[in-house]
């Protein structure tokens, strides 16, 4: 039956995808919020009930072991085997149940998650080696590289991607990060981050768009998809814009390949360049936040640099301010802008779409709400303690376990990046698209350096 957009056809059709309030349990952003906040509240309540040992046991990891011999490492695992079993079941239930609700097949998730958990344990163990820092064996880098090797040499089955949920893990980690992020820092440094993000988002997007369309003669939707992908948050932004401009499947493929390729290069290059330039951790974090495309990739680079210079907190904090609070908020805005351009300029009302300002909310990365909520709640809770009490009671019993749980989610994420990156699946990209995006990347990196180091360097250097 072919109908010309008739209402009756729709009425007769099977029920379409219906969302709305269901997004609260069908979108991983919301699940990241619920999980992150639930873990934080659990840690606080356990502390108040005097049973923080439960949280500390669940947060166990061998990353801080500083082992010198395999015997020492084996002894640690033998001694804590039961705790690791409980911890595995804890993560499996949390992520397994929630992804199953979102529609992921549990029979695929469980075996793949077992693989992921064991892999994460190995990454922690490598990072916990006493000499790891001498060989730059930072957990994010090791996880990424080993994941890449496994995915591209051993050809894991595609169904295992069910448990390699890069974004879900990083979003949960970001909400947990909020619990260790003073709200005062958000309020003082947030405006600087938003100003810097606005400049970088506008310049990068316009550079890619105009170089692509005016110099290389690329199709406008392709240039728009690449422009926003480079300026805001990589593949997610490209996907959002693709719908706004009715981009072709090939356009998104092209953007995915370029974003993934450059993001991987940045993870490997930016920490070492920052180190060569001897940048303070806060400044490097802001530069990475300005220059990386995806949250997951950026966290990998920022964490790596933070570990290199022994100030992980500062690098992660300034990266979060710059990328999560600053740049990510631009997705919805660009979606509306390009939808308006596509409808009123390119297609002159023939697209069947109407630009809608509410898209800014619909496409808003909701996990950011969880980040703010966690930050406010924890700041309110800790405000009742003086500094000695905070350092002796709250930090080891509440903050430290939450940091460890966050580190677990980050390691799951970094390993998943490598395990899902199968180069054979990526699209072959034309030279014009490659150079367009690469010029945008260059502009982004150089402008990001100027803003992070020269213009706002004092602000970022003050973050500890």
């Amino acid at each position: 039956m072919t109908n010309v957009g008739s209402l009756d056809a729709s009425r007769e059709a099977a029920k379409p995808e219906r969302r709305g309030w269901k997004e609260l349990y069908l979108k991983e952003d919301w699940w990241a919020v619920w999980l992150g906040l639930a873990l934080m509240v659990f840690a606080i309540l356990s502390f108040q009930a005097g049973s923080s040992n439960i949280v500390k046991a669940l947060a166990i990891n061998p990353g801080g072991l500083k082992w010198n011999s395999f015997g020492q490492l084996a002894g640690h695992f033998a001694q804590n085997a039961q705790l690791y079993l409980y911890q595995f079941l804890f993560w499996l239930v949390l992520f397994g149940a929630t992804t199953a609700i979102m529609g992921v097949k549990l029979k695929e998730f469980v075996p793949a998650f077992i693989f992921l958990y064991i892999g994460a344990l190995i990454m922690f163990a490598i990072a916990g080696w006493a000499n790891a820092a001498q060989f730059n064996l930072e957990a994010p880098l090791v996880a990424l590289i080993i994941g890449l090797v496994i995915a591209n040499v051993f050809r894991l089955p595609a169904w295992m991607d069910s448990a390699f949920r890069v974004e879900y893990y990083i979003k949960t980690g970001i909400v947990l990060l909020g619990a260790t992020f003073p709200i005062t820092l958000v309020l003082t440094a947030g405006p600087v981050a938003i100003v810097q993000a606005t400049i970088i988002s506008l310049v990068t997007c316009l550079v890619i768009y105009f170089i692509g369309t005016r110099v290389f003669g690329l199709e406008k939707p392709l240039a728009a998809v690449m422009g926003v992908g480079g300026a805001v948050c990589g593949v997610s932004a490209s996907m959002a814009i693709a719908a706004s401009v009715n981009a072709k499947k090939d356009h998104l493929y092209t953007s995915v390949t370029l974003v993934v390729g450059w993001a991987l290069v940045m993870i490997l290059v930016l920490p070492f360049v920052s180190r060569a330039l001897d940048l303070p951790a806060g400044v490097a974090g802001a530069w990475i936040g300005t220059s990386e495309f995806a949250d997951a990739a950026g966290f990998a680079a920022a964490t790596t640099y933070g570990k290199m210079v022994g100030n992980e907190d500062a690098a992660i904090k300034s990266f979060t301010l710059m990328k999560v609070i600053g740049r990510d908020l631009w997705i919805g805005i660009w979606s509306v802008v390009f939808a308006a351009i596509a409808t009123f300029v390119w297609e002159k009302g023939q697209s069947g779409r109407v630009p809608d300002a509410r898209e800014i909310w619909w496409r808003f990365p909701k996990f950011v709400i969880g980040f703010f909520a966690a930050s406010i709640l924890m700041s309110a809770f800790t405000s009742g303690f003086n500094t000695p009490d905070f350092n002796t009671a709250v930090r080891p019993n509440v903050i430290a376990p939450l940091v460890s749980l966050r580190t677990w989610t980050f390691i799951f994420c970094f390993l998943s990046i490598g395990l899902t990156t199968r180069f054979r699946d990526l699209h072959i990209v034309g030279w014009k698209a490659f150079w367009t995006f690469s010029i945008g990347v260059a502009a982004n990196v150089v402008l990001g350096y100027i803003l992070s180091v020269i213009v706002f360097g004092d602000y970022w250097a003050a973050i500890h």
Binding site: S6, A13, W30, V104, V166
Partner: protein, 101 residues
């Protein structure tokens, strides 16, 4: 398809009910409904792929640094008929075919 005449008993009841009904909270936002203002939407078309898992299969690599389960995607989906991305709420094109699944 059953044509609706103005004389069907059930229809008369419904017309009265609608007249009596007051505004009520609708938990399903209009943007994801199949039909709005009498216009068919892509969501109801059989060529439209909007389910997250199906989208990840359709676009290899999209899950490396992103996710189709995230809020940012909103209701973006793939029109297999034209090979373009669109939203579930977009007005359907002349090639619309109702989804019978």
């Amino acid at each position: 398809m059953i044509l609706k005449s103005g004389y069907r008993f059930s229809e008369k009841i419904m017309v009265k009910q609608q007249a009596k009904a007051k505004w009520r909270f609708n938990p399903i936002p209009f943007r994801f409904n199949a039909a709005q203002n009498g216009v068919a939407r892509c969501a109801a078309c059989r060529f439209f792929t909007g389910a997250p898992a199906a989208l990840e299969r359709a676009i290899p690599g999209v899950n490396i640094l992103s996710s189709t389960y995230g809020s940012v995607r909103a209701d973006t989906g793939l029109c297999e008929r034209h090979g373009v991305f669109t939203t579930a709420r977009s007005a359907a094109c002349p090639q619309f075919e109702a989804n019978r699944r």
